[in-house]
């Protein structure tokens, strides 16, 4: 593990007087599923947004496979193998499921300054889209417009879109958000399969899911990393317990 896939060094991001990201450092090894947890407002989404390039940090550095990507724009990080899902579902809602995924594949199939041929009839893009949809169990819903998919299906589609970009690292921002019990279970099962193919950073509130899936867990409180370790150690960590006082049992009860 000499060369981590993702290395974050002393990242700082302020919003006015608030330190949303306070000297955050963390490493994600290749093949690892690394969970980031923390109470509401701990700065998890802010951190993810900096990793994907939607937000620029005020200081610190981000390396992907050894390359400094701190100032690389969002669209180019995608080309380098970084993919994300959004906490609040963010899809092309007036496109079909297949179109959404095919566009993701198209983004990684050279430039798109092709003005003539019908994009919906390009076999290899459609094939990539269909196999990504099959992968998340949405194969039969390919031609349904996104706004007509259920919330659970949209969450799965987010994953399919991310997968179609053939990422090295998948950043998942609360993929379980708003899912029912059965849907959550399906998502956990899906992530369990995916983790064998791709490294994953998982931001999640669902502690069952986190402790079931994670190789390592980083705990954020008020923008700071208070612990970063394997799940068993995190469960025993006093500081983590204190931070989670309100839902302390949520950390300790399960597992």
């Amino acid at each position: 593990m000499a060369d981590p896939l993702l290395r974050v060094e002393k990242l700082v991001r302020r919003f006015g007087g608030i330190l949303a990201t306070d000297n955050v450092s963390l490493d994600v090894a290749r093949g690892e599923l690394h969970a980031i947890i923390g109470p509401n407002g701990a700065g998890k989404t802010t951190l993810i947004s900096q990793l994907t390039g939607q937000l620029l940090p005020h200081s610190g550095a981000i390396y992907l496979a050894g390359q400094d990507i701190t100032k690389v724009p969002a669209y180019r990080r995608s080309a380098l193998g970084l993919a994300r899902s959004f906490q609040i579902t963010s899809l092309l809602s007036d496109f079909t499921a297949a179109d959404n995924v095919a566009l993701a594949a198209q983004a990684h199939d050279g430039h798109s300054f092709h003005f003539w041929g019908n994009a919906r009839k390009i076999p290899h893009l459609r094939k990539t889209a269909q196999s990504a949809l099959d992968r998340v169990g949405l194969g039969h819903r390919a031609d349904v417009v996104v706004s007509r998919l259920s919330h659970g299906e949209q969450r799965e589609l987010e994953l399919a879109v991310a997968l179609a970009t053939k990422p090295q690292l998948l950043l998942l921002d609360e993929p379980m958000a708003g899912l029912g019990v059965t849907e959550s279970a399906r998502m956990v099962k899906l992530l369990q399969e995916l983790r064998r193919e791709v490294s994953i950073v998982l931001v999640e509130h669902d502690m069952d899911a986190v402790f079931a899936l994670a190789d390592r867990i980083t705990v954020l409180v008020y923008g700071r990393v208070i612990a970063s370790d394997v799940p068993a150690a995190i469960r025993q960590n006093e500081e983590v317990r204190r931070a989670y006082l309100g839902d302390q049992h949520a950390v300790t009860r399960h597992g």
Binding site: Y75, L92, A107, F115, A119, A164
Partner: protein, 315 residues
């Protein structure tokens, strides 16, 4: 759904057939006025269709589209004034000038979104308006009379009403065919994706503004062509053709007909200009009737007339 599509297609087919057969009707009845009116309508339909490409499909609300009408027109007018009458020179210059203007305006205004984009495109168009007003050599405020229409050798005679009408119609249909291809191409998918969700498109790896800018330039160039046609139609070009109310007219045509529908702008242009023509004959205050009418269509006919047609049949 299929029934509504058929109803829409039937109307569109009817409009196409009507436009194609119009000169026949005109010569049979001796009604020259209708041909003159529809030549104008077809030209504005092309301009509106070009605006629809960025507004309806690309989600870019340009409020300065009339600038290209003026630029295309002035390219023809100024060259004619300087004794260069060949259409083979005039028209490429008109297109190139429009494209260049769109490239500069687009590069600057695409840094903004929403209301700011509307305002900045409006500001640039008004700038073009005032520059044209200041061109003393080319008539300034009063505009520039074009004494001879673009000369295409023996290929086509623009002074013949019927030939000119069919040229305009060919440009319109060609433009719409081009838009149809573009919209369904890889490029078109990206542009429409950016309209739908820019953040998502960046996350999957698209540098949005590059695609937007190219779309903006295509649209501007197409409108420049409409400008060249318009100047030939009126034998005259003036700053008024780029005034902001003209940009507003184009926007209204697009919204009226149906944003993001291929033939919407054509239907919008027909309805708008025919109404304007007849209402203005009835009363000087025609805008008082036109205004509420537009309001009703915008309020109750989301998706414009084309959208309305679809829903009528479904209900």
């Amino acid at each position: 759904m299929t029934a509504s599509l058929n109803a829409r297609n039937a109307i569109v087919a009817l409009v196409i057939a009507g436009l194609l057969l119009l000169p026949l009707y005109s010569s049979m009845t001796g009604n020259i006025f209708v041909l003159t009116l529809f030549t104008r309508i077809v030209i504005f339909a092309l301009a509106a269709a070009s605006l629809n490409l960025i507004m309806g499909y690309g989600g870019m609300m340009s409020f300065g589209h009339a600038a290209y009408l003026g630029i295309g027109g002035y390219a023809v007018g100024m060259l004619a004034h300087e004794g260069i009458g060949s259409g083979f020179v005039q028209w490429p210059v008109a297109l190139a000038a429009s494209a260049l203007f769109a490239l500069v305006i687009g590069a600057l205004s695409l840094r903004t979104r929403g209301v700011y984009f509307i305002m900045i495109t409006l500001a640039f168009a008004q700038m073009a308006y005032y520059v044209a007003s200041g061109l003393a050599r080319y008539g300034g405020d009063d505009g520039l009379t074009i004494y001879k229409r673009s000369d295409f050798g023996g290929l086509i005679n623009l002074s013949s009403r019927v030939q000119f009408y069919y040229l305009c119609l060919a440009c319109l249909f060609g433009g719409i065919y081009l838009i149809w291809r573009i919209v369904n191409s890889r490029f078109g998918m990206v542009v429409q994706g950016l309209r739908s969700n820019e953040q998502r498109m960046q996350a999957i790896g698209f540098p949005g503004n590059r695609y937007r800018l190219v779309c903006f330039v295509i649209s501007g160039t197409m409108c420049g062509l409409a400008g060249a046609l318009l100047a030939n139609n009126t034998d005259f070009v003036s700053p008024a053709s780029m005034y902001w109310t003209r940009s507003g007219d184009l926007m209204v045509m697009v919204i009226l007909g149906g944003m993001g529908s291929l033939f919407g702008p054509v239907i919008g242009a027909i309805v708008y200009l025919v109404l304007e023509e007849f209402l203005s004959q009835v009363t000087e205050y025609w805008a008082l009737i036109m205004g509420p009418l537009l309001l009703l269509i915008v309020l109750f006919g989301r998706g414009g007339i084309v959208g309305l047609l679809g829903r009528l049949r479904r209900g």
